[in-house]
């Protein structure tokens, strides 16, 4: 079986409305792909549907992690199978500290009866927090509660680093970040890049792709990929604007 995140002829509805239409994409492990596209084109829907959000109905098609279909798995099972979603709007969880939250997620990945080695866990946590320039005081703060936009996004990348996914989807991780925060988050993602991780970076702006340089760029419009290319496609898109994509999409139709 191929080591990849494979999306085949995927159709997704919200209510009665088709949002994702016969969508196809393959991300080999070790590569970083980017999806760009105008607002409302289905980028976030794709991310949430893959993670298994109950509001999104997968009508047909398939999504496979290293050859295994995700669709019959519950949300948490998908996560433990190696799929990570960095949320566009991370939830606040009052009273639950970041350390306890990540511990619970790590514990859920251990075989029954096995306990997490706490000192080793904290050593690893602190290393990764240092890498992401997150103050150690944050470990005892409640997840995302009262965090700034940048802090929330760094907290997402910290979780990604601690949970060692095989495939990661970053949903508009750049939104709401100033340039310094963007660099920190990008450095964090780049540090996690390697042969063991496939990543899908969803963004509206080319800016992020200066820092997380993708192997491939896909342009999404009206629920489908309408054009794919290398990183230069992002620059071309930035200079020509999304109207250009509309024309391509209309020509294809």
């Amino acid at each position: 079986m191929s080591a990849s995140l494979e999306i085949k002829n995927l159709n997704v509805n919200i209510g009665d409305k088709r949002i994702i239409k016969d969508f196809n994409l393959s991300i080999p492990k070790g590569e970083v792909h980017a999806i760009m596209g105008p607002n409302g084109t289905g980028k976030s829907t794709l991310a949430k549907a893959l993670a298994g959000h109950p509001d999104y109905e997968i009508v047909s098609g398939d999504a496979l992690v290293d050859g295994e279909s995700l669709l019959d798995l519950e949300v948490d099972e998908r996560s433990r199978s190696g799929l990570f979603l960095a949320f566009q709007y991370p939830m606040e969880i009052p009273g639950v500290s970041i350390a306890n939250f990540i511990r619970a997620a790590r514990n859920a990945r251990l075989p029954d009866g096995e306990e997490l080695n706490a000192p080793a866990f904290y050593k690893e946590l602190y290393e990764k927090m240092d890498m992401l320039k997150i103050d150690r005081k944050f470990t005892s703060r409640s997840v995302n509660e009262g965090f700034s936009g940048g802090e929330k996004k760094r907290c997402e990348i910290l979780q990604m680093a601690m949970l060692n996914p095989r495939y990661a989807i970053l949903d508009e991780t750049d939104s709401g970040l100033d340039i310094d925060a963007l660099k920190v988050v990008s450095d964090g993602v780049n540090a996690l890049r390697g042969p063991g991780l496939g990543a899908l970076v969803i963004t509206h702006y080319q800016r992020l792709l200066n820092y997380i340089v993708p192997d491939q760029v896909h342009v999404m419009y009206d629920g489908r990929i309408v054009k794919s290319g290398d990183k230069d496609l992002a620059l071309e898109l930035e200079s020509k604007g999304y109207d250009w994509i509309k024309e391509i999409a209309d020509d294809a139709a």
């Binding site: 959000h53 949300v75 948490d76 996560s79 991370p90 969880i93």
Partner: protein
């Protein structure tokens, strides 16, 4: 009524036995008890039209029919209870009672005794500190509905603790009182009386616990007196078994510039009624009242509170949080009362209910009675379930649904638990919550 018809006079015999057992007690104490018993007999049981009992189950309040008050105890293993009465890392003194009887006592260090600190059982206080008791014992009004049960308490109380802190004495390590119910259908009457004189500072931890799974009655009273500039920090952990019927009547008086903090952790009882009256009486005084309750199958936790501000420049803050599993029920009825002339009062009241089952029922009656205009007063009450998006976020991190729910509930309680000063006690409490949550 019943006495006249002769249907049930056993409580009279029980009371007579109780009085007979107090052969060394002073006359005033016997008389006090006799009066209390008469009042108890005279007062009616709560009626349907009593606003203080709105939404409450009243079917099991006729306690004479179900419990014995004769003081017989079936307690066998005292050392076991003594072992289990360890909720804090350090302590300035501790008492363990079971079925109203003394199990063990750790007296206050000599150094504190030399400063005039009194830490003793109520039965000892009757012999040695009668004047203090005459001034302070049951001297705070009971006005939230359990007047009859307060008289029952006075009639049968034999033990509990008296803690007196003289002027200017500040004590770090907490005093601890443990009250166990052990005998099937027995009744316990834990009493806690704290008097903190001017600029003193003290912490007290009280735990109410069951030895075994038999039904019992607990009817407890806690009264705190904080003098000028005094600080009292009080934490109460109620972890009776779920057959127990419990009444807990709390009241505090906060004098000028004093600070009183009351935290309650409520886990046990089939039916638990607690009443807490925070009397903010001196200007500059501040009172905190916090509570958390985790309920499951068949439990009813009924809490009534009153924050009375009778002096200007006073503040109070109340936070009561309930998480309800299965077919359980909670009632929160709270009132902020600002008297005429109590200007520059800040008083807040928050009740949050988290429904974890569609069979659970949360009742909320947050009230305000404001008779001064220059005040900041507000209350908020919400009842909701865990948000789907919150669960989804945790699932998306690979945390199974049940574990996610559990984490969210623990997080929900942290707002209260994080305020418990003693970290060992807070941790012990979290363990009890975990044990209960997992059934």
């Amino acid at each position: 009524m019943e006495a006249e018809t002769g249907i049930d006079e056993s409580i009279r015999y029980d009371f007579q036995n109780h009085i007979d057992s107090l052969n060394t007690a002073p006359e005033w104490w016997i008389q006090y008890k006799q009066d209390a018993f008469d009042s108890y007999m005279d007062l009616p049981l709560p009626r349907r039209s009593d606003e203080n009992w709105r939404f409450a189950n009243r079917s099991d309040l006729d306690v004479e029919r179900s419990y014995a008050f004769d003081g017989e105890s079936s307690l066998a293993d005292r050392s076991k209870l003594e072992q289990a009465s360890q909720f804090t890392e350090t302590q300035s003194g501790s008492y363990v009672f079971a079925d109203n009887q003394l199990v063990s006592a750790n007296h206050a260090p000599q150094e504190l005794q030399d400063k005039g600190v009194i830490w003793c059982s109520i039965s000892e206080a009757i012999e040695r500190h009668g004047d203090l008791l005459k001034d302070y014992f049951m001297k705070q009004d009971v006005d939230l509905g359990s007047e009859k049960f307060a008289q029952l308490h006075s009639a049968f109380v034999t033990n509990g603790i008296l803690l007196y802190i003289p002027k200017g004495v500040e004590i770090d390590a907490p005093f601890c009182a443990y009250n166990w119910a052990s005998t099937p259908n027995g009744a316990i009457f834990p009493h806690t009386l704290v008097i903190a004189e001017e600029f003193s500072s003290v912490r007290l931890v009280e735990a109410h616990l069951s030895d075994g799974e038999d039904a019992a009655l607990s009817c407890g009273v806690t009264h705190l007196f904080a003098g000028i500039g005094a600080k009292i920090n009080y934490t109460h952990v109620q972890n009776f078994n779920e057959q127990t019927l419990g009444f807990q009547i709390n009241s505090n008086i906060a004098g000028k510039d004093s600070q009183v903090e009351m935290n309650s952790v409520i886990l046990g009882c089939r039916h638990y009624r607690s009443e807490t009256h925070g009397q903010v009486k001196g200007s500059g005084a501040h009172v905190d009242m916090r509570s958390m309750a985790l309920t499951d199958a068949g439990q009813e936790i009924d809490q009534r509170t009153l924050q009375t501000h009778s002096a200007p420049n006073t503040t109070s803050n109340l936070l009561f949080k309930n998480a309800l599993k299965e077919q359980s029920k909670t009632i929160f009825s709270g009132l902020i009362k600002v008297d005429e002339g109590a200007q520059q009062t800040d008083a807040y009241q928050t009740n949050r209910n988290l429904l974890l089952s569609s069979n659970a029922e949360a009742n909320s009656l947050p009230g305000l009675e404001i008779e001064a205009n220059d005040v900041k007063c507000s209350h908020g009450a919400t009842t909701s379930e865990i948000e789907d998006e919150e669960i989804f976020y945790m699932l998306a991190r690979g945390i199974p649904r049940e574990a996610a729910q559990e984490l969210i509930v623990y997080g929900f309680f942290e707002e209260v638990l994080s305020q418990i000063a003693d970290e060992t006690l807070a941790e012990r409490t979290r363990e009890l919550i975990r044990a209960k949550f997992r059934g």
